[in-house]
């Protein structure tokens, strides 16, 4: 019965979504939501993706996903003893989400009149990457609601082997999905926004990072919690991850933070989501503490894998708190001191970078755990040597970023060598996903540091035919043309970059959208493994010259590659661990 109802729920929601999508494809602008987010000039693909381009549709999609995962759970795990509680939890969440949808953000409201045309999809969102970014993000959020329901089930029925298996599966899937969503958003920011960066510590980005950090700690804490070690900690993280994802929806949708991702804000939505957050927070944490007697955990012994895992979790949670405070502090100042404040990237990078180094040091320590354990006196000596080397380097007044780069590069080489040695001596690598995952995190850190340290930007004024020499390469503005498309007109500027006889062409555009007259810039980028040339076309001056922002960004391609490797490791780890 329960399983049938879950299928029915999913089918009905699917029909509702299909109905709304059909209105988009048919240009039925009498639907307010369609009118506000589409137009008849829009290519069909974007008419479809406009479905989730604004609050109402994206929330509906999120509910569809939640209902879908409920149905999948019932289909695959109907026999499990945790399913009733898990179903009840998800149904509870679904119920409140649907109430929220119907009373504050109904996408099916209509006008009395039929407008001729819609007000168009936000041009910034007319990009293939951003068309798929939101669904992936919601899927990530929603899957964490499933892990939450499993954790709650475990609190009532006890954590057995089967439950752990499913928890790991769902935690792996959620983690992978959320990471993919963040990566897609990052790539979009770099290629579409034209600010030359991939991460801005913008509140909305941070809000997504919060459940991701909690989820990372959660997934790691799952590894050993089968032995009841740190079980309650794992449960706490599972609950927090879900709560942080609701908190994220609240902050983004209520518009209490200023951000580039401004959604239309409506106080009633904020009130509803905040109440929802409060309800789930008090209920789940109350349950957690009332049952915590059952979850007695032992503290792991010093210098063991479990111990390192605890350290890893502590570091991740500290990073989480830093991001949390930095993101939400502006709300506090606004409420209590009536001051608008925004916290810049410096706060985050200067506090988080050392912690990332600590994480990398933990990866390294894990490699030599056997050795450290067998010979404790040597351990002491080694740590003293390492500490004094670092102290020396610190005193030697080397640039801290260079120091960091050296450290990360060393870590990368050591990890890689260890993996290779293991592979050639045993013809196999144990827990490959872990090695690959940790390697890609180190590589990612290296690329980010590289990017931070060496990237350069200038603003120049060029006429067609002009050249400029910057950082060892020559940029030339070849030509400027005006082109027309179905839904926008654009000024297309062709550039060439000449460096040591290697010529590359870049095309940057400035688009004027026909509806609403919004102007967007399309960046011209030429990438290689080490560095990117990045050109953004600015305004035209009276004398026919154009303002141009020209940057050379290092390590961008490496950032993408290491993130993709990380994703691959997550996916492989999830599948392998589940034994398929």
């Amino acid at each position: 019965m329960g399983s049938k109802l879950s299928y029915a729920n999913f089918s009905v929601l699917l029909i509702a979504c299909a109905y709304l999508a059909y209105q988009f494809l048919q240009d039925n602008f009498s639907f307010i939501y369609v009118f506000e987010n589409s137009s008849n000039l829009l290519p069909v693909f974007y008419k479809f993706s406009a479905f989730w381009s604004a609050h109402e549709g994206s929330f509906l999609l999120m509910i569809l996903f939640l209902s879908g995962s409920l149905a999948v759970n019932n289909l695959l795990f109907w026999e499990e003893k945790w399913i009733p509680i898990s179903n009840a939890t998800i149904a509870f969440i679904l119920f409140f989400y649907l109430l929220f949808q119907i009373f504050t953000s109904n996408p099916f409201l209509t006008f009395d009149i039929l407008p001729k045309n819609g007000t168009d999809l936000n041009p910034l969102l007319q990009d293939p990457l951003l068309a798929i970014h939101p669904p992936v993000l919601f899927a990530g959020y929603v899957f964490y609601a499933v892990t939450f329901s499993l954790v709650i089930a475990g609190l009532f029925r006890g954590f057995d082997k089967e439950l752990f298996k499913n928890l790991k599966l769902w935690a792996g899937i959620s983690w992978f999905t959320l990471t993919l969503a963040i990566l897609l958003g990052s790539i979009w920011a770099y290629y579409e926004l034209g600010w030359g960066g991939y991460w801005f510590w913008d509140p909305v980005e941070n809000i997504v990072l919060l459940p991701w950090l909690a989820g990372t700690a959660f997934t790691h804490s799952l590894i050993y919690s089968r032995n009841k070690i740190l079980l309650s900690w794992m449960v706490f993280l599972g609950i927090s991850t879900f709560l942080l994802s609701i908190l994220g929806s609240f902050i983004v949708r209520s518009g209490i933070l200023n951000s580039v991702h401004s959604f239309a804000s409506d106080p009633s939505r904020g009130i509803f989501l905040l109440s929802l957050f409060a309800l789930f927070a008090f209920a789940s944490l109350g349950l957690f503490f009332s049952k915590s007697v059952l979850l007695k955990s032992n503290w792991p012994e010093l210098i063991s894998k479990q111990y390192l895992l605890v350290l890893n979790n502590i570091v991740l949670v500290v990073i989480l708190l830093i991001v949390f405070l930095g993101t939400l502090y502006p709300i506090v100042t606004e409420v209590f001191y009536n001051q608008k404040l925004s916290i810049g990237p410096d706060y985050f990078s200067s506090l988080i970078t050392p912690l990332v180094f600590v994480l990398i040091a933990l990866f390294l320590a894990e490699q030599f755990l056997g050795y450290l354990k067998s010979n404790q006196r040597n351990t002491l000596i080694i740590s003293i040597i390492i500490a004094s080397v670092f102290l020396f380097l610190f005193i030697s007044e080397l640039n801290p970023v260079t120091l960091g780069l050296i450290f990360v590069a060393l870590a990368l080489i050591i990890l890689l060598l260890r993996a290779l040695v293991e592979f050639f001596s045993t013809k196999d690598i144990k827990v490959m996903h872990k090695i690959l995952g940790h390697l890609s995190v180190v590589l990612l850190t290296f690329s980010v540091l590289l990017n931070h340290e060496f990237s350069e930007t200038i603003d120049v004024k060029l006429k067609p035919g002009d050249e400029i020499e910057f950082s060892g390469a020559t940029l030339k503005l070849e030509s400027i043309n005006v082109e027309g498309q179905a839904n926008f007109d654009s000024v297309v500027a062709s550039f060439s970059v000449l460096e040591s006889n290697l010529k590359k062409t870049l095309v940057s555009e400035k688009r004027v959208y026909k509806i609403g007259g919004v102007i967007t810039a399309e960046t011209g980028i030429s990438s290689s493994l080490i560095k990117d040339y990045h050109v953004v076309l600015g305004d035209r001056y009276q004398d026919g010259s154009w303002s141009i922002r020209y940057s050379i960004n290092y390590g961008i391609m490496m950032i993408w590659i290491s993130s993709i490797l990380l994703l691959f490791a997550m996916l492989y780890g999830t599948i392998r661990r589940h034994g398929y």
Binding site: F35, T119, L328
Partner: protein, 171 residues
Amino acid sequence: MATRIFLVLIMAILVLMIATFSLSLVEKEEIALIENQEGKSLNIVDDLYDIEGNQIPLESLLEGKVLLNVWASWCITCLVEHPFLKSITQSKDVKLIGINYKDQSFNAEKYLLENGDPYIFSIYDLSGEFSLKLGVTGAPETFLLIDGVIVSHRIGEVNMEIWNEKFAQYF
């Protein structure tokens, strides 16, 4: 014992957080007021053109009572207030001048052809620059100018009720 301390701590943090967020929601409505432009005078630097491309004599804006209405063919609220604007120009002696805001001229012309044109003429403001200087935040907005000074400014739709409240006293 440790559990209980943790419980109290977590719950206290939660309560504080939720309280702060609730306050921020309340406060929000007071801060979110958009600045009203009443009392400022019109200062035009650039040449102005209408939708057909004819230059607009500046005196037409600066002399006497002028009702300036910001509109666009893509603006649904403009379409809603359009019949009211027509009726007000027919029933009262109102000099109504449009500002066609961030719109394509052919769309604007089509809009006026289909819905009727109550404007004496419309200033063509594709870039939105003129409107920006005027203090426009979006469409529709309506300004009443008396000898180049903004005496009344409505952000949003104008209907009979708003008219009586903000504009009727001057006519």
